[in-house]
Amino acid sequence: MLSPFLVLFWHFQIAARWDWGEFLWALKNSIWQGFWSGVLSCIGGLWLALGLIFCENRFSRWFNFNIFFLLPNFLPNLFVLIGLMSLIDPFPIGSIGVVIVHAFINFGLCGVILKEVMKAKLSKLSDVSFILGSSQWHFYSRVLWPLIRKDILQVFFLVFVTTFSSFAIPLVVGGGKGINLEILIFEKMKIYNDWSTAVLISGIQSLLLFAFSLVNFNATTVVDVNPHLQSRFLESRLSFYLFFFLYLVFFYSYFSGVWEGISSWADFELYSDEIKSGIIGTLIIAIGVGCGIFALLMAITRLHHTNWFHRFLNGYVAPSTALIGFAFLVIGPNTSLYILAKIILGLALSYVIYLYKMGYGNYLIELQRYKEKASLLGASDNLTFWKVIFPLTHKRMFLYSGIAAFWASGDYSISKMIANRDISLALLSETFLSHYRIGFSSLLSFILLVLGLVVFLAFRGVQIVVSRKINY
């Protein structure tokens, strides 16, 4: 995990060029943007979770709306901005605009996570509350909030960390006064060529977030093997239809661009070799990252014995993607197979921490009691892992591997730094964008989404097979 930092600190000698004024100013902006993005995302996500529960109880047989609401999280930033600017006109430029964009991108993620938390913790309590004559407000304030407030804080921290270290969105809509630490790092690298200060700021940023994470808001996770949730207290028809409409308007703008791209079908034949190569490259990166994440999660699960390890993983923040990319560029040769391996490793290292914070860490903490019971009964570590822990964790491992594969299919930042040509569809899409071809770029980004979805479903398919094999 620490290897990118170690490489960068070794490569760039730390020079004494430090400006406290600009650092504190950027830190203030980072905290402000991260805080309000987290708050808005959690509020919206909580409400959306109620809508997702409503639709899961009625429509899940026909369509998985989780994926629908998660899509803004995976689209390229330009298309998210264009979609939002169609929704909100005039769009507020500045820190407020940054918060709005981040909140919109993270509504789906927060909603899906909180929906799962509600399913796991409240599967029966809501029915019991209703039968005992509790009012909805009473249920929310006395049952729901006490049980899931730490989970909400956990989700808040997840969004806070992501938006704290966000780069592209503040750069486009932040206005000049919205410069955060990531933009400061970028300024140091690109404008002042001061890579050593950039690395130092990135290191301090990670340390600050790590210190913040030491605050104990670790939520307890109930391990409910077959959660079922059907409750009038936790379903919200209004929430579902409102968010669905909002997202439809957003996607209309995106898909109108995709449709425009279909009209330039002739470009497909002209660039068929590059597109085929991009598709294969994207699949390699996606599958590679998925497998890498699976291996890393297996290793983390196997080594997860102590609380300090959990706190380290929960608090650690990988350096900015530009610096990760550069750290891997510096290590080893930059030809053919090595480039793919570096991209896969770089992405896996930057995603695994994020996935760990998404709930996997807390889940492992809860499984400690099973480990202790097995140990008391005389089982070895190996036996405990393969016969007790792995059957309980494999579904989440495959899910997170699939999610990571989906993210990796659309990666641009790390790939751009390491690759020496357009090896994936994401890079190709950006190249088309820089040649006036926004329609075709939209079409490529849509194909990319489909590929990511295919890989995600492949991991889910393998998970089903493995579950059957271990009879779980």
Binding site: G175, S253, E274, F326, N334, E430, H435
Partner: protein
Amino acid sequence: MQHFIIFIFSIFFVLVLSFFNRKSVVDETQKTLRVYGYSSFTSKLGPGYDLKKKFEQICNCRVEFVEAADSGVLLQRIKLEGATLGADLVIGLDQYDLQKALSEINWRKLDFSQLEIDEIIRPALSNSYFVPFDWGVIAFVGRKEDPLPAPKSLKDLLKPVYKNKIALMDPRTSSPGMQFLSWVYDAMGKDEGEKYLEQIMNQAHSFSPSWSTAYGFFSKRQVSYVLSYLTSPLYHQMIENNHSIEAFKFSEKHPIQFEFAGIPLDCKECSLAEEFINLMLSDEGQKVIMNKNFMFPVIKSAQVGTPFESLAQFNHLAQFKIPSVSDVDFLIKSWTSIRRGDKNAK
């Protein structure tokens, strides 16, 4: 579990083999010319692909393009890989990158003073290490059918009717953005220029990190005007058969942007690099660059009989000079200060 691992590795192996199974046969005895540039040049959409094919036919060598995200990464990459793999030619630096490039890497001296070029290009040859291969005129671009009155000057852009209608670029991350900054200071001077920039902060729709993002907003009709090039409408006319896009002539003289090529001193295939530059500057090479980049060629004869010829008559141009380190430093620091809302730019 074992079956899963075998299954995934099989798929992975097949994909990797397909990825590296190239049609072209690589002759290991052939010399390889390593060219560093941006994807806009080196990709099939850019001129690099056609130039590479033409060059490989005549040189009995292989051309390998290495892309980089921006000039900072490009120069770092050359420093990392140049000694071992070789960095023979660098393409795509603009006048604001030259001083940084000179301070980071040693370059071979080039002499193209005998080139038959337009007098507009002559100032770009004033340095000894980089040669220009195309150029463009910075201008605002809009739609003819837009109900708003066409702006006629930089000062017009501050009128209330244009609020949130203009897409600009951040000069820290985009070359046209830097050109805009320079345009303002050259036209208005330091004090007036700073006041203007403070006002344009609140007037513009956005300051995108790249030209492509800003042009994306314009293409999707989020804005009415975008900072681009005089030749941008030609793309829409020639490729999309769309004649509704036009570039506006401002009362302030328009800045010029040049793109340069240079040969690092540590090149392994230095003579091949010079021959490649010669191809780029030939009539044939210049036509390829012109038609792919939609920028003016440096060799005048290349644009004869093309839609670029009439546009090249545009003579309301600012005097070109290669900015010094202190010039670039001033521009960046003043922009950063104004963006942050500091009263006095450092």
